[in-house]
Amino acid sequence: MEDWAMTDLSSWLDKHTFHHGEFWDLLKLVKEKERKGLTISLCIPTLNEEKTIGKEIVIFKSELMDRYPLVDEIAVIDSGSTDKTREVAASFGADVYLSADILPEQGFKRGKGENLWKAIYQCKSDIICYVDADIKNIHPRFVTGLVAPLIYNDHMHYIKAFYDRPLAFSQGIRPSGGGRVTEILVRPLFSLFFPDLTALIQPLSGEYAVRRQVLHEIPFPIGYGVETSHLIDVYMKYGLAAFGQTDLDQRVHRNQSTLDLGKMSFGILQSFLSRMEAYGLVDKLPATSNIFRQFQAEGNRYQQTTREIIEEERPPMITIPAYRERFGIAEQ
């Protein structure tokens, strides 16, 4: 069972893991998009991002609308920034919306997931590509790398970004994977309950492109749990085959404090448990639950490493006869 799962995942990794460099030919990509009659919306959820939003809009508009007509609209969906985020984004030509103004009869909840959800209503295209606004080293690859697998592969529906983090390593094989919350919380949870989903190198990355027919069928936690919840729902409905992931090289963003990561983990755990409950999985541990899955990379090839971690249990010492004899304790 374990061998089968491993082979399967390694072949999935080969066929569903991309590098943005594979899609350098934007002219070809635009032609294929037009041939298939697809439309693409780029959605950037924001809350007080005036420092980075301007650059994102300039680069995306110039490269992916003016130069290559890949993206049909750029929608900034804002949670109510108190800085100049909306003004800056609009000045460089983005369509800017206040989250609260979209579907007002549904009310307004503050959270990134809220903006992503409302984007499905506001944006018009077949594919929505979500990109966070806090990326310091923004580049067209953050969009092209995610939409290209959807344009070329009709059977894929949900493409996640992953980044090769600049971990210190000397040469050859290096450890790879996500941030602290991914490695400490999400990957252990997935290893236990959804081993297939451990094939996603960075399940929490905020950049992904998804087809509308998938997006409008899944619920959206409004806070930190949105990515985790999506993965479980899409997986339960379509299986791992619907996913792809693209290496976008480095992503430079602000670092979060351990306290913030704690809040994030709490939100993720809430969403995770609610999904487990929804699928009746809370008390069902799959057979391979003692296999923990991590990643290592060699060049541009990613491999899962599995480790059997068995947390065996010993009974209370007082139940051991030799112990009771040694300390003169009578059997209870």
Partner: protein
């Protein structure tokens, strides 16, 4: 006559061109940002020139090439009957590749190391084919676009010199593009010599030797004597002491010191006379005590250029006038001398207003690139607009 008619027709279209240009705003800015974020230290410009080459390919230019010294060039063919115009911008920056090259963007400003010198200049050059296409302008002349390497400091314009010396068809005229300042109009080149003075004093300090107080003191004596050299105010001549490097501690006199300096003058022969005088000073110091001093010249330019009344300068002034840009005429010590050497008419122009050149907070104003010249404009943090002319 026909040319004059064409030129006045062009002048009358300028304001229309300017408003059409707003459609290319993000395209030009994106080029500046992406170029700004690619490190391009002296002798390490290859990533930036590769980016420029890719842009030339996307613009479907001809004869795209990277030459032996790393310059990147391409040709936008004209309809025929014109000559050849070269538009050049230097790609190298003063910054080492290890610093953070992030560019930040606000509605008014681009900010980041090297953004004004010379990412915006290169972006303007690289965007020219799109700009001409967008404005529906078909040139008669062939247009050579050139990103040069090895221009600054010790690079000593090696890239541009290589290109001008080896290009298969010599351009009839050239425009050098710098990010800042808008209004700059340089058409003549100062004579210039740039050099290092190294001073060495003996390792073992002899307490009895009054003169040996270390390399800083010895260099200071040289500096005193250089400052005593008389320079004429007209034609403008100056000796610039740019950098001093010596010592590491509070209480140990160093045995080595270096001074970097530049001498520039509009008058032919003046720079050579001053450098001769500096050489004498160094010989004197060497003769006087146990100090060893030497001069090494790292760059030399001849003075020269074209006249204020040259058609290239005249037309440029008229265009600037029509765009309400007040020309700021200043001789150059850099690119122009290379063209002067080859008898090619050339000018240097600035694209926008900027501040903090060669600082980590170097910034450039966005609006003057596209719309208008604001005489009170400039850039600083936030929305404040200051700096006058």
């Amino acid at each position: 006559m026909q040319d004059e008619q064409q030129f006045s027709a062009l002048l009358s279209q300028l304001s229309g061109y300017r408003s059409q240009l707003s459609g290319l705003r993000e395209l030009v800015l994106a080029n500046a940002i992406m170029l700004g974020e690619i490190p391009a230290p002296l002798f390490g410009e290859d990533k930036a020139t590769a980016f420029i080459r890719d842009r030339f390919m996307e613009s479907a230019l001809e004869h795209i090439s990277l030459d032996e010294v790393g310059n990147v060039s391409a040709v936008l063919p004209g309809s025929g009957g014109g000559g050849t115009i070269l538009v050049a911008a230097h790609v190298d920056k003063v910054w080492d590749g290890s610093i953070d090259h992030s560019v930040t963007v606000s509605p008014e400003l681009l900010k980041g190391p090297g953004i004004a010198d010379n990412s915006i200049g290169v972006a303007a050059m690289v965007s020219l084919p799109e700009i001409l296409r967008h404005l529906g302008i078909q040139l008669k002349s062939d247009l050579i676009l050139l990103g040069t390497t090895r221009s600054m400091g010790r690079g000593d314009l090696a890239g541009l010199r290589f290109f001008v010396e080896n290009v298969q068809r010599t351009p009839d005229c050239a425009v050098c593009v710098e990010g800042v300042q808008l209004g700059r109009l340089s058409y003549s080149s100062l004579g210039m010599v740039r050099g290092d003075i190294y001073v060495r004093t003996p390792e073992e300090r002899d307490w009895l030797s009054y003169n040996n107080k270390g390399a800083i003191v010895a260099l200071n004596r040289i500096i005193d004597r250089i400052l005593a050299i008389e320079t004429p105010r007209q034609p403008e001549t100056s000796i610039i002491l740019g950098s001093v490097m010596a010592g590491t501690a509070y209480n140990v006199p160093p045995t080595k010191a270096t001074l970097r300096f530049e001498v520039r003058s509009e008058q032919r022969g003046m720079v050579a006379r001053i450098v001769d005088r500096i050489t004498e000073i160094i010989e004197q110091i060497n003769a006087e005590d146990g100090v060893h001093a030497e001069l090494s010249v790292i760059a030399r330019r001849k003075p020269g250029g074209i006249e204020f009344s040259h058609p290239l300068v005249k037309s440029t002034r008229k265009i600037m006038e029509r765009l309400a840009i007040k020309p700021k005429v200043a001789p150059s010590t850099s690119e122009l001398s290379t063209f002067v050497d080859k008898g090619i008419s050339a000018i240097t122009l600035g694209i926008t207003r900027g501040e903090g050149k060669h600082s980590l907070d170097e910034c450039a104003a966005i609006e003057p690139i596209f719309y208008r010249f604001d005489p009170a404009g400039g850039c600083s943090s936030g929305n404040r607009w200051r700096i006058g002319q």
